[in-house]
Amino acid sequence: MAERIVVDPITRIEGHLRIEVEVANGKVTNAWSSSTLFRGLEIMLKGRDPRDAWLITQRSCGVCTYVHALASVRSVDNAVGVRIPENARIIRNLLMGAQFLHDHIVHFYHLHALDWVDITGALKADPKKTADLANQVSPAGKSGVNDFKAVQARLKKLVESGQLGIFAGGYWGHPAYKLPPEVNLIAVSHYLEALRQQARTARLHAIFGAKNPHLQSLVPGGVTCVADLNPDRIAEFKYLWLETMDFVNNVYIPDVVAVAGFYKDWGKIGGTTNFLTYGEFPQSEKEPDSMVLPRGAIFKRKVGDVQPVDISQIQEHVKHSWYEGEGALHPASGETKPNYDKLDVGNRYSWMKAPRYKGEPMEVGPLARVLVAYGKGHQPTKTAVDGLLKKLTIPQEALFSTLGRTAARALETKIIGEAMEGWITQLVTNLKNGDKKTYQPYEMPEQAAGFGLNDVPRGALGHWIEIKDKKIGNYQLVVPSTWNLGPRCAQNKMGPVEEALVGTPVADPKRPVEILRTVHSFDPCIACGVHVIDPQTNEVYKFKVV
């Protein structure tokens, strides 16, 4: 007997998401992902000063703050034809690197961990055993008996107060929670520690970016923080980077490995088929060749056969979204209008469109990046992935899973973090040699078009701008969570999260913690996934996709 389960709202994500699944014989047999908020940023951008676009698009999302800012200034740089100075590229890369460090730590501990960690289980732990175990796993600090006793006492106090706050109503005691009490206690302790670490790590953004969330030091042509390029600030940045990397190496990655060891069955659940990356961290003007994380597409899980990306092969479908029309719309020739009727998973059920590459749904994000880099022989990625597979004694196929996705996110945090050190050194060398250039002036053209591509924590992100009479004629964002969380396409092919959910076990339909595991492994970020067209003219979609 099939049963329908609706989880609405999916919490511990950015934005508003509804997931509906059909369960038969204890497993998901069908799934529908619905985005339930629509803001319409692209409409607002029309007619504004192109230099203002990045400030507006950054507000697509406050969790992955900065990423839309960067995509947007890149699109204007590209449109006006300005070549930014090397120091500006380095600062922008450092801020992007900091974004990955911060974002991935918050995702694992605060948005994802409670799917695997039973807070109440931690109450049963023996602090002494916990300390012994923690010391075996990693040399992280704050792992003494007294440290764990203090965390446990705090938790006990919370439970006894009867005011559970953010922990109220969790699926505690669910049989799908498999961690021993001691591992639960370590994880809870690190959940709390990470709450403080993320606030400190966010200071990396403030040093060269004024503040976080929503940085304020970019401009088309470069960056504005020239006065901050001094030894004090660089030392502060490097210290915070070191502190964060210590947390990544000695807390985050060991925790992911330790938790994964108890959930190896999730290496067979939650996989998808095709993967796409735009690449990130240009080391010179040569893009995509100089990028640390390469650009590429993988079909049918053929990691050994990474293909080049042809951006013109992207299409957006609306057959199952709340817009008029049925078919596959090339962004250059859309005739689409918002048309909310009702949520009907048999018909239309999301504000998101369904992007497809060469007609296929593509997973984007950490797993896609790690697979593409691995397939292209990127050495730090190969070392990290092979090391993890060996440590967990799982086969390479296990990467195509919920477990693989969560592990890939941790591995790339380390890979990106380590690359940042070279950029800091390069910045110092430039300054030492008297190169303090951070901005290149340019003329705003009457007419122009450009695009900016990034790979951001949640995946491939593209901004397209058209400048008309020195103002924004059209603006379009195609964002990671639309790729991952979008609905079915005109050919009724499921989106990646829908595909990933099929086969997920559900022990108790009233408490579907397993669904959260797979959905959260994509790190959904919905506000930016919903992008919109002008209801009257649909001009936002009149784009030439390059």
Binding site: G62, I166, G169, A210, V219
Partner: protein, 316 residues
């Protein structure tokens, strides 16, 4: 005395020294313009045994405001939500999902009528009866109508819930409105606005502390912003003010003048028309703020700033 002892023990258990805690209290009293002698009283208010229940409703927003709150350092966010208040509903942090999360919200509203604080971030889409924003099958508009009038007070965090913010920017495709305008007369409970995009968490914490300390909401300006944070313009308190007076201006980013930290007025700075304390408390533990990073203020704590303060690089 007993309470004070219990409070010290609680601090200790948290691994927070009393000195650290008082540092926060002093910072808050300074932010709020209170006498330093009030710091111990703030400490007391923050550690009362029954934690004030707080529900946080996120509507048409970007989650920048909830994220901003996570950056609080005095107190740290774990202290704030586990020891100072009871954050019962907050979609970004809460463990519960789906039906369970909606139950938690209902329970708090039913159990503490007129006694919980409601924090709202994000504007409320009102066009087409609110279909542009739904949670748990209900429109955001209906949720706000149901919850906000039952709160002790509503704190609008961020410019979207305060004044409409980005969703309401021209041409406002979803009919987005700030909380007060969306609910109109149905909202009889007090409203405090802590605008900014996102606001500095210290201003939110200061507002909550004011309530816990004095049992009332802080004094507000005519736009319902706490005077302790929004009483003066960014320009009045700017570190670069002397350059303005001395006629020393930046006219190009990355220039010698930019490196020397000259005034950004000619680059479009909206500091003279923006009420906020950015230059005093700065962001992320006092690390920086936009003007310090060489970028003009965009006026993000003012109503309709996306339309009225733009183009952002054009001088006032």
């Amino acid at each position: 005395m007993r309470q004070e002892k219990a409070f010290d023990e609680r601090l200790e258990r948290k691994g927070v020294s009393r000195r650290d805690f008082l540092k926060f209290c002093s910072l808050v009293s300074a932010t709020m313009g209170l006498a330093p002698s009030l710091a111990p009283k703030i400490a007391e208010a923050l550690t009362s045994p029954q934690r004030t229940p707080v529900v946080w409703l996120s509507f048409s927003e970007c989650t920048g405001c909830p994220e901003g709150l996570l950056r609080t350092m005095y107190p740290w966010i774990d202290e704030l939500v586990l020891d100072v208040i009871s954050l019962d509903y907050h979609e970004t942090l809460m463990a519960a999902a789906g039906k369970q999360s909606e139950q938690v919200l209902q329970t708090t509203v039913d159990k503490y009528p007129g006694k919980f604080i409601c924090v709202v971030d994000g504007a409320i889409p009102t066009a087409e009866n609110g279909v542009y924003g739904m949670i748990g099958g209900k429109t955001m508009l209906d949720i706000a109508k149901e919850v906000c009038p039952k709160a002790l007070a509503n704190i609008c965090i961020g410019t979207c819930s305060s004044y409409g913010g980005l969703p309401a920017a021209s041409p406002n495709p979803t009919g987005a409105k700030d909380l007060e305008s969306a609910l109109g007369e149905a909202l009889k409970t007090p409203v405090v606005k802590v605008p900014g995009c996102p606001p500095n968490p210290i201003n939110f914490v200061g507002t909550v502390v004011n309530y816990l300390l004095f049992g009332k909401l802080p004094d507000l300006d005519d736009k319902k912003r706490p005077l302790f944070a929004y009483g003066r313009t960014v320009h009045d308190t700017c570190q670069r003010r002397s350059h303005y007076e001395g006629g020393e201006f930046v006219t190009e980013f990355g220039s010698k003048e930019a490196e020397l930290g000259y005034c950004l007025f000619q680059m479009g700075c909206k500091g003279p028309e923006t009420y906020n304390n950015c230059s005093i408390v700065k962001y992320n533990d006092g690390t920086s703020w936009p003007v310090q990073a060489g970028h003009p203020c965009i006026g993000c704590s003012e109503p309709e700033f996306w339309d009225k303060m733009s183009p952002f690089y054009k001088s006032l």
